[in-house]
């Protein structure tokens, strides 16, 4: 594992949009987005876990598509729009987050930000996903508490709520 503190190389300027606001910062271009978000910017809603792209706890949106921020390096964000869990609902709560609350789609909650990000991306692309499509969309998000029942219920509830709106 390469720790951020080992980064002693030259920094370069990264320009991107973060949660709707333009950002310009000096970073090493091979630094992981996960560490930039959590350690440099204090956005700790994006969770650090496996750090090899297997668990999905660090999921963020880059230009609206879900990516694992532990696998994404700074240079891959240049000119892109990044959305973290802190940026999805402004000051309130997103209906998808509400559905996770209402349906018991979490227990310890550590995987939940990543889950919510993946569901946002899914429903943005496909308003009426099938059960198989939901499973595929969440196949990169691991939960070790819920058994997924509550999570799938939450996704279906969010779909139904959107259709009624």
């Amino acid at each position: 594992m390469i720790e951020p503190s080992e980064n002693t190389g030259a920094k370069q300027t990264l320009q991107c949009t973060l949660n709707g606001s333009p950002v310009e910062m000096d970073v090493q271009l091979s630094k992981r987005l996960l560490h930039i978000l959590r350690d440099d910017l204090g956005l700790t809603g994006t969770k650090r876990s496996c750090e090899i792209g297997r668990c999905g706890a660090c999921m963020v949106l880059v230009d609206g598509k879900p990516v694992n921020s532990c696998l994404t390096m700074a240079y891959q964000c240049e000119g892109k729009s990044i959305t973290t869990i802190e940026g999805i609902s402004g000051d309130g709560i997103d209906p998808i987050q509400q559905a996770f609350l209402a349906e018991g789609g979490y227990q310890c909650g550590y995987c939940t930000p990543g889950m919510v990000i993946s569901v946002i991306a899914l429903l943005h692309e496909n308003a009426s996903p099938s059960e198989d499509e939901i499973s595929e969309a969440l196949s990169g998000n691991l939960c070790r508490c819920t058994g997924y029942g509550g999570i799938i219920r939450a996704v279906k509830s969010a779909i139904a709520t959107r259709k009624m709106e």
């Binding site: 080992e6 595929e136 990169g140």
Partner: protein, 319 residues
Amino acid sequence: MPNTHPGMSVMPTVWRPQEIGEAYRMKQSLGETAVYAAGGTLLRTQWEAGTAVLPAHLIDLSAVPMLAGYALEPSELVIGACCPLAALRKDPLVQTAFPLLAEAVRNIAAPSIRNLATLGGNVVSRIGDSLPALLADEAELIWLGKNGMQAEPLEDWLAASGSEQAGRVLVQIRVQHGTESVNGAGTMNDIRSAPLLKVDSDRSASVRIYHKVGRREAFTPSVGSLAISAGMEHAAGKLKEVRIAAGGGQTIPKRLERTERLLERHADPLGEDCAAEVHRSAMDEFEPVGDLFASRGYRKMTVANLLVAELWRLRERFA
């Protein structure tokens, strides 16, 4: 730290060439201290596992126009090496015209990884799960090396493992259309339900089968992966132009040519007697690499069983 470059504790310097020749010249200049990077997902995994050293320089290929995207041309699918797997997974035309590749890509990692990971990266890994599908489709690779652009059959490149030209860069993956056209008549069954079968007429069909088995249902390394392409004269019960490719785990995928010939020459290729012969042939011909998760013998048996199971499904379809 096992995964840092010798004598280094800094992160790689990132170079961002804007055209393919510039990328190649950078690699020639930086030599062994640099690696090409596309999506970077496999590289990151290797660095974290300590199976590859963190290089001093990364040459990011994502801004090179020639490597981006894909084009569905009249005779072939031309895929830039940096085309994300997700783009191929989602295109209905690719799913229809190149079902082996589409199904293979659906079985690689998870959607978020496929948004970053590229087909070129999966290919140059030599063990990617797209490779059996591309072998069965007789894909061709286009490289930029010291002699300019060169085409090379994927099968030849995989067979020549270890004789890589220093620093050459994969530009494109090309896959020819089969006999069927993109908008041709006939019905394709759902992409998820192998075998992928296109009935061209009452007498013939195109069979395309891709099946990956892992230790869980999704987002899993393969124990075995199998791709089959064949034409079927179902009135006569004969198979023709059979191509079978298998891989899995750390195995460099390969065509099972003796088993292909067996199926083409057999009077009743979907019969019970042939099934037993095919199983023996695949067990004899497939040479997987075992590891701590699945032994060589287990992987061999998995692929042989998959092959016979899929032939049995064809038999049920046409019985």
